[in-house]
């Protein structure tokens, strides 16, 4: 028989509260972590889906989203002469503020040549911008602002017609939109300007060698897509990761306190019974096992429920607010279970101190 289990199941309301408390805490932890993972994925979505394996930026520029880049004139031709480089795809990009329904909305403009690539990787309706003043918006972004194919939107004082809707090109912070490179040059008053080159490489060519050769060109910085993604994540992680991790920490603490408080009150309530067990001859170790078993049970059951709830809640959030991407990494679920175990062990500290402090002679006191 397990006294811990019997004690735990005797008060089902308390057990439900305990499991529910941990479940909510674990759910919150997973949602926040999933949100962070989703945010990272959204941040790097353009780089991940754009052609090529190397990005050429202005000297000292290491981010796609976090910095303005302007490459030297004639860089396309120079880059294409580098051994191992197959093709150089130019883009002109810039954060802009759109005025949609009198609401300011930051968005990231990508000016590209539809014949070369570098535009939306998944069009769900319409087409790429083939003519002047045509624009492709993200579907979710368009929905949020009640925009549809054929509508006109003003970008930096010029009217554009929505000709296509893309998918996977938005986040809760901002959204990508795509225009022809010439239109972007017109908007930025920068004829023939290029922000970045997306470089494809020959099969079998060494990336390190190509990077070294590219970095010999004056005024440029060549990075692998992987490195630039990592830099963008670090840049945004610095902004958002700290508060999100703080919230994860708070959720962990709240969960721990819930289990701790419930196990503590359950222990105090049964103090006399535990005193009797101690008087009869049980060692403290036996009593500690009761507390830890109860805390572990509540935490593991709560964590498992929390994982299920987190999946349900994530689906609901993403359907209600599609701009939020919540991605669960299997490692996060394992970490959530470990967090549950951590909660159990920390939550056991005070109840075990109560047990340790029980004077067996007290059982004879009325």
């Amino acid at each position: 028989m397990s006294l811990a289990r019997r004690n735990l199941f005797q008060d089902k309301t308390r057990l439900a509260l305990s499991i529910g408390g941990v479940a909510l805490a674990v759910m919150l932890i997973l949602i926040l972590k999933g949100f962070l993972t989703g945010m990272n994925r959204q941040i790097t979505s353009y780089i991940d889906n754009s052609p090529g394996s190397i990005i050429l930026a202005q000297e000292d520029v290491v981010n796609l989203l976090g910095a303005t880049s302007l490459l030297p004139e004639g860089i396309i031709q120079k880059a294409e002469t580098i051994r191992g480089v197959d093709e150089a795809i130019p883009i002109l990009s810039q954060f802009v503020i759109l005025d949609l329904h009198e609401k300011k909305q930051p968005a990231y403009m990508i000016g590209y040549d539809p014949k070369l690539g570098g535009g939306p990787w998944e069009l769900i309706s319409g087409s790429e911008p083939r003519s002047k003043r045509e624009i492709v918006f993200d579907r979710i972004f368009a929905d949020r602002h009640d925009l549809k194919l054929g509508d006109e939107v003003e970008v930096m004082g010029k009217d554009f017609t929505i000709v296509g809707l893309s998918s996977g090109t938005t986040s809760w912070m901002t959204s990508f939109f795509f225009v022809r490179k010439q239109d972007a040059e017109d908007l930025l008053l920068a004829p023939n300007a290029t922000s970045f080159l997306l470089l494809t490489t020959s099969d079998g060519a060494s990336l390190d060698d190509i990077l070294r050769r590219l970095n010999n060109i004056s005024g440029v910085n060549a990075l692998t897509k992987k490195d630039m993604s990592a830099n963008d994540i670090i840049l945004f992680a610095n902004i958002f990761s700290a508060p999100l991790k703080l919230m994860v920490g708070i959720a962990f603490l709240v969960g721990t306190m819930i289990v701790g408080l419930i196990i503590y009150t359950a222990t105090v309530e049964r103090q006399r019974e535990y005193g009797v067990i101690k008087a009869i001859g049980a060692k403290n170790r036996f009593l500690y096992q009761i507390v830890v078993t109860q805390a572990l049970f509540a935490s593991i059951a709560g964590s498992a429920l929390g994982i299920l709830l987190a999946n349900g809640a994530a689906q609901w959030i993403m359907s209600a607010r599609p701009q939020f991407l919540i991605v669960f990494d299997p490692v996060d679920s394992v970490q959530a279970l470990l967090a549950g175990l951590g909660m159990a062990l920390i939550a056991s500290i005070f109840p075990t101190r109560v047990m340790a402090g029980l004077a067996p002679a007290e059982v004879f006191r009325k």
Binding site: R6, N7, F9, V276, G281, A282, V363, F364
Partner: protein, 289 residues
């Protein structure tokens, strides 16, 4: 009761004192108390509230260490043992019976008893078999799987007695065992304890305010202000079965043994045919629990 030799002693306490606090707040709960308990002996400790009964009982059960003096159990001075050795002594040498029964509310009657056996190292199955057998002997065979809340007061106390007996202890310590029982059930429980003590040779020390328990005791000790003030030795009238105080009773000697009676009538009846009453007493005491 008869004086026992030191070899037969279950428990011996010598000049035990317990003080709480220090300086101006020092309180002496028990002062220079000595007592010897023999196997099978039932000792009743009575006294007013605050007289030190609970403190003395706690020290006897190795729940509390004396400030001075020594407590010896079956040759081992338990008052000198390290704290970490006491749980094992309590588990295997003592059986505790409490006023409020103090059963574990989440466990059934069977489990309440078996858990003590498990603590002593028995495997679950063996512990449950022992517990079931003991509870059945105590008349609770039909109540094995009942939670304490479904048991009557008398049944709860019998579960508590089974719990106290499961590890075959030398000494049973009972704190106000009849306080929460009506008089009939209380008397039944006390007779049960007496039978256990006499048939199994276990010593029993009872702390109580209940005067009726005197009937089953071999000795009654009066504790006041932490000291034993009076000792009353009890005896059973072989004719009517009444419990009588030896010091106040009518007595008679037959074949070198002294017998005590509640009144002259019983004594005279006994002396007319002593064999008749001694045979009856012998049959009574051989009844199984």
């Amino acid at each position: 009761m008869t004086n026992s030799s030191s070899q037969d002693e279950t428990l011996q306490i010598a000049h035990v004192t317990k003080r709480y606090g220090s300086g101006s707040t020092e309180v002496t709960a028990v002062h220079d108390v000595s007592l010897t308990v023999s196997p099978g002996e039932i000792i009743l400790i009575m006294g007013p509230s605050g007289s030190g009964k609970t403190t003395l009982l706690s020290m006897l059960g190795a729940l509390l260490k004396p400030t001075e003096g020594a407590i010896q159990l079956n040759g081992t001075i338990i008052s000198a043992l390290a704290e970490n050795r006491l749980p094992d002594i309590r588990l295997k040498q003592f059986g505790f019976i409490f006023q409020d029964f103090n059963l574990l509310s989440a466990l059934t009657a069977l489990e309440n008893v078996a858990i003590v056996s498990e603590l002593a190292g028995f495997k679950s199955g063996e512990a449950r078999r022992k517990a079931a057998s003991l509870l059945t002997e105590l008349g609770l065979g039909e109540r094995l799987n009942f939670l304490p809340e479904k048991l009557s007061g008398g049944e709860k106390q019998r579960v508590a007695i089974a719990r106290a007996l499961i590890n075959d202890p030398a000494l049973i310590l009972a704190d106000e065992p009849t306080a929460n029982l009506d008089s009939k059930i209380g008397h039944e429980i006390m007779r049960l304890l007496r039978r256990i003590a006499k048939e199994q040779g276990r010593s029993v020390v009872i702390v109580s305010h209940d005067q009726r328990i005197k009937d089953i005791a071999d000795r009654v000790l009066w504790l006041e202000d932490g000291e034993f003030k009076e000792t009353v030795t009890m005896a059973i009238d072989p004719v009517c079965g009444m419990s009588v105080e030896r010091e106040k009773a009518v007595s008679a000697e037959w074949e070198g043994e002294i017998f005590y009676f509640c009144a002259r009538g019983c004594r005279d009846e006994f002396l007319n045919d002593p064999q008749k009453f001694l045979l009856t007493a012998s049959q009574e005491s051989s009844k199984k629990i």
